[in-house]
Subunit: 276 residues, 4 copies
């Protein structure tokens, strides 16, 4: 940690940051973010938005610009996708988080979204970090697939050092040799983040596991690990989704899960309450 | 999975295995295993055994033969260590699990211990696997630091195929690039194990994280992830311990943790109970 | 490789691409690129440029914009650094390769440099890839620290698919658990790249090993592995360098190494020549 | 490296160890070891032995006891395999190296083989290391798939500390996220080993790459990296081999390769010779 000066982060008496996203807050209570991997069309997105709102989600996620391994894969609907997300917010009141990949899109995405997402592949895109750091919009900073805790925190610092304190971290699995899961969800990093920063941190079990059958257990474990929230991918008909089919929950699965998460969060508060 | 014939394991209608260890069982309810990393002397081990028994632990762990990176590090007390563990069982009634590294020790260790532990470094010591497979003593099979799920399950199969069905798996962290933690605890492997085998599986957060400050959260997350138990290292005075100092809980920390784990297990039963 | 359509790459009868950089070519003969990690001042850069030119280097490397883990580390001289590089080219005739991190710098960097470098952290910065793909300037595309061969080739395809065919790949070590070296140099990827693409590929042993003492052997091994070139960091006084001190060769070490590399390349031609 | 006391290894003025294997030596000149992955029958093994002897190999490899992921895969011919290897030595004069997995086989394997091989999975089987350390037979110690340099050297020390100084190290690829190759061959570890120990070190490109098409280049690169030898798997008819089919060279491919390796070794001596 030679050149590490986490002036704004390293402080054992720190006051925890709470980040406002529209009328919601991350860092107090437990925040549920849900939505499609990618905005496919208005009907799909509104259907999902209504369902997750009803199930108790606080924020709607959805990709308009998609970082894809191949240039020939579907790259997202772009501005049209942002407009659809915006209509979903109008109807449901859910604030919107969506990925930004290009500094030239900052003004446009700002008009539609309530929170920028910096994806795993762009975690060390320092140019992008600095530019979102010059705005006052909240930023969801995903951990790079091969990023150490130290590197991740330093990327948060790139945003903070430009003047934007509204950063939420998101663990989304790291790349390992294990192939049963898409990546390896590193839940031990949640209490580790809490030890060394004042920033909120959430968990994305959908991308981490890549398997819908593992998402429920990892959501409950995330609550137990002390996460401030989770972000889950859902779809009315996973088999027909344009991407990430294996990891998507159906709307009804999400409804059941959201209830369990809420019970779990209350149970954790009881378990950790100081006994009288 | 070319040459994989998990005849005894791959079966979607499987009945879950429950493994008896002395008068305890793993695979029904939630099992807490605790004890020193290494048996240092009688006083240390008895002090720990009494404390963990009182706090609610079900099984006592303790190393008599220690696999150490360097040949010049302390290698454990050997048979003397086994005798101390045996006295701890006599006094507390806790069954004993201890590591075995040498096929020539099987008879000796069998006399003292209730369960063999196969350590991470020996997960693919096929000779050792086959020999414990010829006994009828329960075996705790730790996942290798760089072992895939498939390789791990095949190692269990080496034991089962020799006639010993009493195998419990133990996730203890995998080796990754992250250095804040000693290894990366892979909690997503717990529901994955449940999907493809009938064997019980527990979690060792002490070795996985290498940091006492992270153990509590990882125990609670392990319960939420569906683990059948946890194994924790404790010590009356961690700073004076002969090995693994940074990851040891004090006896009083363990006492508090054991209560939280029990509350957590009850809460999970409520959360997952089918609503009427 | 579900969504992989490497139309321009997958073709077993392919003609190998040769990329012109100024008056030099990569993909025919063996290309030696050398220079400072970062442009520190005019004197340092000109001293180095003269020395590596004399020793037989073909292209000068040097960073003006530096991607640093921490926002508080030295970030490079920016445009001033580009001007210094430009003067070094004027004096020595060596073409310049320098890293670009920001799409807004493309016009500026184009004025000064002969080849763009896309660094490891930006390998999947798809916005940047597309923008350099719209120019006709050669691009040196470093492999991401945790990038598979498939992902890397797809990133090249992002550039090619925008119309710029002048891409050279650069292996620079991948992130593993080994800590003796900074990263693990993956020389087996060199013949693998040759099997599946027509693009030239070079090796950066300085960043891969992070140790000056290992650079010579890895350069010679790179020649033997079939690399089209190497890129080496040098400095007149490594202990006083502003970054990467442990991996820098002195000018005199580089001089000796350049001669060995040339002998090695000739020897390889003899060894692989079909016997009559 | 807290508890590391490499008393016999850490010494900058060390004299390099040369290990005699039958009438061959490893650590002086360049040693070529070749043979089948597994001894399948007498005809196969004798055919291979004659061919590799004629092509210039110095030592014959061949597995009689095979460590297999699954207990239901072919486990090797056992003692019958050792007898076949012994007849191959009688006929060709080539010394034999073969894997040992069980301490109870030491006496038996000693009768037939000239060198023990400790496989990757058993690198930290400390019981086995100590027992071969009590013999005076040379030991080929393969690096564990997830072993750091420090751990590997410590395993050599387990053998040395019991009194057997005849240890040769063997790099065979480490486990990474890259899937194009079976493992990632770490050639930078060769000069690293030379920096910190006096032991000879060789390279196994067959297991490392898992692809016959990459073996030639990796052999030549191993020579350039300073390896003391290579170990290659060959087979008269790779498609019919009982294991490791994708990585086997044919006898004719091996013949061509052995000649190139010898030319390469001579070229390296010229390149590194101090100029007069």
């Amino acid at each position: 940690m030679d050149d590490l000066k986490l002036s704004s982060l390293k402080n054992t008496n720190f006051k925890r940051t709470v980040v406002s996203v529209g009328e919601q807050s991350i860092g107090t209570g437990f925040t549920i973010i849900a939505g499609p991997c990618t905005v496919e069309n208005e009907n799909q997105t509104l259907t999902i938005a209504r369902a997750v709102k009803k199930a108790g989600a606080h924020i709607l996620r959805g990709g308009a610009f998609k970082p894809r391994t191949s240039p020939y894969s579907f790259q997202g609907l772009g501005q049209e996708g942002l407009e659809i997300l915006s209509r979903a917010r109008q109807e449901t009141g859910l604030p919107i988080v969506t990925e930004i990949m290009d500094t030239r899109h900052i003004a446009m995405v700002s008009e539609y979204a309530d929170m920028f997402q910096i994806g795993s592949r762009n975690m060390q895109n320092f140019t992008l970090l600095k530019e979102v750091g010059k705005t006052d919009k909240p930023v969801l900073l995903k951990r790079g697939m091969n990023s150490t805790l130290e590197e991740w925190i330093n990327c948060a610092e790139y945003i903070l050092s430009e003047g934007n304190p509204h950063v939420v971290l998101c663990e989304r699995g790291i790349r390992t040799f294990e192939s049963y899961t898409r990546n390896t969800l590193d839940l031990s990093i949640i209490p580790a983040v809490k030890e060394i920063t004042h920033l909120p941190v959430i968990v994305d079990p959908s991308h981490a596991t890549g398997r819908a059958s593992l998402v429920e257990r990892m959501c409950l474990a995330a609550v137990a690990a002390g996460s401030d929230g989770i972000m889950i991918e859902v779809h009315p008909d996973p088999k027909k989704a344009l991407c990430d089919r294996d990891q998507l929950l159906t709307l009804s699965e999400f409804d059941g899960l959201a209830q369990k998460i809420q019970k779990m969060y209350r149970a954790m508060n009881d378990i950790l309450a100081p006994s009288v």
